[in-house]
Symmetry: C2
Subunit: 326 residues, 2 copies
């Protein structure tokens, strides 16, 4: 028996009432690649859109082993328990197979948070291209806002293309680093440090404090050498210890300072405006490219042409002309 199909109005009403089951099902709908589901999803989104945009959207990235789950559980509990706010945790990880658990694949990674009534945790959509996953995550974020979640974490692994995507989704981009000299950079993508609004050194635990403080000083010096950001914000380097339970309140305080400063100078609003427009043009580009590369003539000729171009036997422009003429 197929699952009951709700109308757009029913989905929207359930989401706006903060019903977790409705929210989950609406997210499943935006993740669907079926054209009929997508059309319905857009109707739901259009209905809830006036009720979105009010959350603080925080991107969190770092290589595996840096302690992302532990940090998210600690900051998340601070948000729901100390601040009494509703939190949603989303993930962007196109490489993760369903249930594979490489990132938020199951809720046992953050058991206390997952059990809390004010926290909503959703694993990464498992299907599709990065573009598709990114769109689904962006729309899931809007649905969570419509459902009354005041803080959204978007988690990603800092090793691929996905952190650029997440950077385009959030108000603040936090990079988690280990204190060990050199090792922490293994696997981290070049360019990611300059995207960070703050660095957080994890596992600054007893016995590791000296290394953590040295790492903080080094990163702080390095960040000062970067060109200043348009926001007027200087990315700080913070320390946290899950063992000692320290540094979490400071992270939240920093986020509030950032929000106050950039809302006052208009950067916060402008960043969101720019993100919206970037998403529009990226959606168009993806659709144009997906149509083009899907054409039978192009699919057939492309491998030989790519080989000729890579070997320097054909100029890229001439090759493009040939493909565009098919």
């Amino acid at each position: 028996m197929p699952p009951t199909r709700f109308s757009a109005a029913e989905y929207a009403a359930g989401v706006l009432a903060g019903n977790r089951v409705a929210l989950s099902r609406a997210i499943t709908l935006v993740e669907s690649t079926l054209p009929s589901d997508q059309a319905l999803a857009q109707q739901v989104l259009q209905t809830v859109l006036p009720h979105t945009g009010r959350a603080l959207r925080l991107g969190i990235t770092g290589v595996p082993g840096v302690g992302k789950s532990t940090f998210i559980e600690a900051l998340g509990l601070h948000v729901v328990e100390q601040l009494g706010k509703k939190l949603a945790v989303l993930a962007v990880d196109p490489s993760s197979p369903r249930g594979g658990g490489s990132i938020l694949g199951d809720k046992t990674r953050m058991p206390q948070l997952a059990a809390h009534a004010h926290a909503f945790i959703r694993p990464s959509p498992s299907s599709g291209s990065l573009g598709g996953v990114a769109r689904a995550t962006r729309e899931a974020l809007l649905l969570c806002e419509a459902a009354g979640h005041e803080v959204i974490f978007v988690e990603t692994v800092g090793v691929g293309q996905s952190e650029t995507t997440v950077h385009g989704l959030v108000d603040f981009f936090l990079l988690l680093m280990l204190a060990g000299a050199g090792d922490e950079l293994q696997g981290l993508k070049r360019g990611i440090m300059e995207m960070a609004d703050a660095l957080l050194i994890t596992k600054a635990d007893q016995g590791n404090e000296t290394a953590a403080r040295r790492a903080r000083r080094e990163y702080q010096n390095a960040l000062h050498l970067f060109p200043p950001a348009a926001s007027g914000w200087y990315p700080p380097v913070l320390l946290t210890s899950a063992v000692a339970g320290t540094g979490i309140a400071e992270v939240w305080e920093m986020l509030e300072n950032y929000q106050a400063q950039t809302q006052a100078n208009g950067f916060w609003q402008e960043r969101r405006r720019q993100q919206q427009l970037q998403w529009l043009h990226q959606s168009i580009r993806q659709a144009l490219e997906s149509r083009f590369y899907g054409e039978p003539g192009v699919r057939e000729r492309l491998p030989a042409i790519q080989q000729a171009v890579a070997a320097g036997e054909m100029t890229p422009f001439a090759a493009a002309q040939e493909l565009l003429g098919l």
Copy 2:
């Protein structure tokens, strides 16, 4: 009277013979936006293509005032006089009006080099989008190689989008910096430091040596905090003084070391392969987008739709769907 129009074979023969007038005219041809010129240009390029790819391609960037002209003249004279090699200097600067002189607008910026028989200096094409200028520069580079130039400098101002373009054109990307604390970063684009294969601190002149050495140490420390590059190369920080005439031979020696190391580990060849493929797909993307955004229906609706998206009244995906349906 219109200028004499050569055949593709005549252009190619002149270029391959190393005739400077033929090279200049062939570059003018690839810069032309007329469809008939572009078709002819592609024939010329296809003919000379087997004779390209042998030069060392060096990208040079830095903010205005950093001393790019002085450095290019000094390194260029080293190449043509000490090493006896043929050099071509190209520029990518879409913002420069013809003859405006903001970058290579006239040859008085590097008078000795411009007068040398083994140096060929070509200002940035003045017309068109960054995409068009980038294509023209890439094709001019191939023509210069076919004309026997063994070293190519591609110069750009490090303040816009063009340095990413140049990075995709060259084997080695050199970022020029001033030693002054903080000031040197004004106007420099975020992310550019992580693209650099080396940093060169200019104006390390007498009286300024302490600041220059301190800057070198700071940048070297900062670069060590970046994730290692796929090339296995660690970007060094060098000093140069035009006044004292120091540091130029060291830059060349570094380039040779880089070439030897990355040709041995295969990265040099792989970078060029990847660049070729990127240019193919960028050319296709530009053509698809230029067709799409040029459609009358899209042109008419786009402003209102962008406004609705930026204001959060319409999801980017729904907006894209509407435009794609026009």
